[in-house]
Symmetry: C2
Subunit: 246 residues, 2 copies
DNA sequence: CGCGATATTGATATAGATCAACTAATGTGG
DNA sequence: CCACATTAGTTGATCTATATCAATATCGCG
């Protein structure tokens, strides 16, 4: 039971993002190092800035985010974390977390002790490279967020966020035909894009009325991917995903 | 001659950012893998999006930046690269570069072939971890840039950029008493902070008149570090530097 | 039912963009 | 060594995207 689930979780991570298949032996060993699943409710801070985690946490279901807090209490989302993403792997080489991690929906996670990863690296040297790779994807997304917030106007920022999320979710089988669950409130979207919730509200409406995308009731439908991508100046190259099936 | 220079370059990287000292043997081996120094003039694109580099490029002197280009031709700086920084190390695990790299001043670089790094990893396993760490620092800075652009107003963004650059340059001995060379034009600062050059001009003046920082003639003088840091909501923790000497 | 979150809408304010000169410094070729 | 082009910086006038403030609507939920 639990063994199967762990194998599935291991595969989701090891295959979801990179495309090449690890040896069965490596998948098996990685799965063996995973904790049982743990649950957290929506809208809870689960990792805090300054902590020195001794385990790495892998998101299995639901959505979470990394965020920084400003003096005035406002927060800035730094990334959206989707199933298959490590929430805090960078804290392993870095030592300390430099931001908080909070859930957006109910989530399930599994953990792997840093020690166990070290042992796995010794046995399967390319595992370390794969984890390095996965933290570099975070970096690539960060760069894209800088571009998005720095250079796009409101409608483009939101379009870009939706395109990116669609592409990432599709890669792990959680979006089909441009339709996916999206637990962020308009306030959250604003915190991701450097906008107020009022302006997000008006901009989301423009996207809907323009026939580009419909975001409501915690669900997104992308109506015209080509025009949405053009608006958000989005190309998914930086995600290093295999070419889209659909 | 050249051997000494390479050893110095190797040390600058290996010691500059991490604090712990590598074995002499490792430094020696790393130095031995470095190319002779190469020069590039200011304001030249030296690495292009889409390239698949086969060497990693280490900046030895001068300043460079990573940047993305928008449809309208405007560019967004994604990071500032200082002496001791790798410009494209992330392209080694990632495969392709997802952004351009351009010089801001005249620069000197050295390169190390990816193959040579692989061989070094086999001999000195913690070297790989150290390079992973250094790419994670880029990620930490990216996150801070997202916060800066998303949540701070113009004067705070520029204050933050100056604080960050001061801290990083001080760590490699290129800033003293809050004074350092800074080859960015006001246009460049705008491209880093998501502002127009006109607004940068007015904002820099406010910093000067407020006695916070003086940026002119390609040189920065930080006049009141505490107030500047408060304005930019800057704490250097994310840089993972040893505590400031001064 | 009534409360707390979220979404929606309208009125108004403002930070920063845009447009347009103009100045200062630097370089260049004749 | 001057005429001229080029780049960076400065300043002023105006415009606009987005923020702010405030009220109302909706809805799941205890």
């Amino acid at each position: 039971m639990s063994g199967d689930q762990q194998r599935a979780d291991a595969r989701r991570f090891l295959l979801g993002h990179v495309g090449t298949v690890s040896s069965d032996e490596a998948v098996e060993a990685f799965a063996g190092a995973l904790s049982p699943r743990a649950h957290f409710p929506a809208r809870r801070t689960i990792l805090r800035r300054g902590e020195r985690p001794r385990v790495a946490t892998l998101l299995v279901s639901g959505m979470a985010c990394r965020h920084a807090d400003g003096r005035d209490g406002y927060r800035q989302l730094l990334s959206l974390q989707l199933p298959g993403d490590f929430l805090d792997l960078h804290a392993m080489p870095l030592g300390r977390l430099d931001h908080d991690v909070a859930t957006l929906s109910d989530v399930e996670v599994v953990t792997v002790a840093h020690d166990a990863l070290e042992a796995l690296f010794a046995r399967f040297p390319d595992l370390e490279r794969r984890l390095w790779f996965s933290t570099l994807l975070d970096g690539a997304m960060h760069r894209e967020w800088i571009f998005r917030i720095g250079r796009l106007e409101a409608i483009g920022r939101i379009a870009h966020l939706l395109c990116e999320t669609d592409a990432r979710l599709a890669a792990v089988g959680l979006a089909a035909n441009g339709r996916f669950e999206f637990p962020l409130t308009q306030q959250d979207v604003g915190e991701a894009c450097g906008l107020t919730s009022v302006h997000v509200n008006r901009t989301v409406r423009r996207l809907r009325e323009g026939g580009l995308a419909d975001l409501r009731d915690r669900e997104v439908r992308i109506l015209d991917r080509a025009r949405l991508a053009a608006l958000g100046e989005f190309t998914g190259e930086y995600l290093h995903l295999p070419p889209r099936a659909a």
